[in-house]
């Protein structure tokens, strides 16, 4: 079925592009967050606990965006909801 093979090709290409772009931007954001946290820490070392705690919470929030992208890509690759319409 040519329809199925082009659909598989398109979904694979979309998945790979999606994950690569979807991880780059959170990585940049995390780099900026860590940079600001290190600058704040160097300016005021006695606020270390508050800064570290806030840094980790912020990093987890940013990382969850990358996790959203990963979940969608895994769904598209392994449990594609459109596949059952084409196989029928």
């Amino acid at each position: 079925m040519p329809d199925l093979s082009s659909f598989t090709l398109a979904s694979t290409v979309a998945a790979v592009l999606g994950i690569s772009l979807g991880v780059m931007f959170p990585a940049l954001a995390m780099g900026w967050a860590i940079k600001s946290a290190l600058e704040a820490l160097s300016r005021q070392p006695e606020a270390e606990r508050a800064i570290t705690r806030t840094l980790f919470i912020g990093l987890a929030m940013i990382e969850s965006l990358a996790i959203y992208v990963l979940v969608i890509v895994l769904i598209v690759l392994f449990r594609n909801p459109l596949l059952e319409y084409l196989v029928k």
């Binding site: 919470i57 990382e63 969850s64 996790i67 959203y68 979940v71 895994l74 769904i75 392994f78 449990r79």
Partner: protein, 237 residues
């Protein structure tokens, strides 16, 4: 791939309710924790005559750490929040790490389990807030600082609950699936670095879930405090 599906398959039916592997693992974790707590309860004392043993010191260390973390965020409501947040933290640490045992899948890998926990946090925010301030005061804080922000308040509450569930689910499921894929692709001992990442991520995600739950509940508890402090400041000045 049928072991690491995105939806859990039911193992047996108990009347109208189907029991999946997630539920069984959760029950096992609950039974284990209850058993440990009951056994430890006989051996620790409230005011030990001699120096406390290693077990009591370790337990007190854990509880004190949790209590300090809660006191950092909500110093006036620590005793109220300690049972809920402490249980959440302990359960999540055990549940996340249980994925490392061969043959056992962590229950937080299932979206239903993490959605249930996020729903618990969502309802607890309202419960603690209404119990501390009364229904009218608590509902009034949605209209502060301006009634135009009401839809944004509601949307943000719903979104952060969904985000809480999906964050934990996505992290746990993707770590297990990545380990499985590396095993399929690269052979026997290759997933060991991913399993080390799994350990770190399990602990970090449990900490983040509990910390965010604490921040949300403390936000619900303290929603009236700022207005009351401002009122007192105005009447004093």
């Amino acid at each position: 791939m049928n072991e690491v599906e995105l939806l859990a398959a039911p193992i047996f039916e108990l009347g109208p309710v189907s029991i999946t592997g997630t539920v069984l693992t959760t029950w096992a974790i609950m039974a284990l924790t209850w058993l440990c707590a009951a056994l430890i309860n006989r051996r620790i004392q409230l005011a030990p005559a001699a120096t406390p043993g290693a077990l009591q010191t370790a337990l007190e260390g854990i509880i004190t750490t949790i209590e300090n973390a809660i006191a950092n965020v909500a110093p006036q409501h620590t005793q109220q929040l300690l049972p809920f947040i402490g249980t959440l933290w302990i359960f999540l640490v055990i549940a996340n790490l249980s994925g490392l045992i061969p043959g056992v899948h962590s229950p937080t890998r299932d979206l239903s389990a993490t959605a249930a926990l996020a729903l618990l946090v969502f309802l607890s925010t309202h419960w603690f807030g209404i119990r501390a301030q009364g229904l009218k005061n608590y509902l009034r804080h949605y209209l502060a600082p301006s009634p135009i922000l009401l839809p944004f308040h509601i949307i943000s509450e719903l979104t952060r609950t969904v985000a809480l569930a999906v964050r934990l689910f996505g992290n746990m499921m993707s770590l297990e699936m990545a380990a499985l894929l590396i095993l399929i692709v690269a052979g026997f001992l290759a997933p060991v670095p991913i399993l080390m990442l799994h350990i770190i991520e399990a602990l970090v995600q449990a900490y983040i879930f509990g910390m965010l739950a604490l921040i949300y509940v403390a936000g619900g508890l303290q929603s009236q405090q700022l207005r009351q402090q401002k009122k007192q400041g105005v009447s004093n000045a």
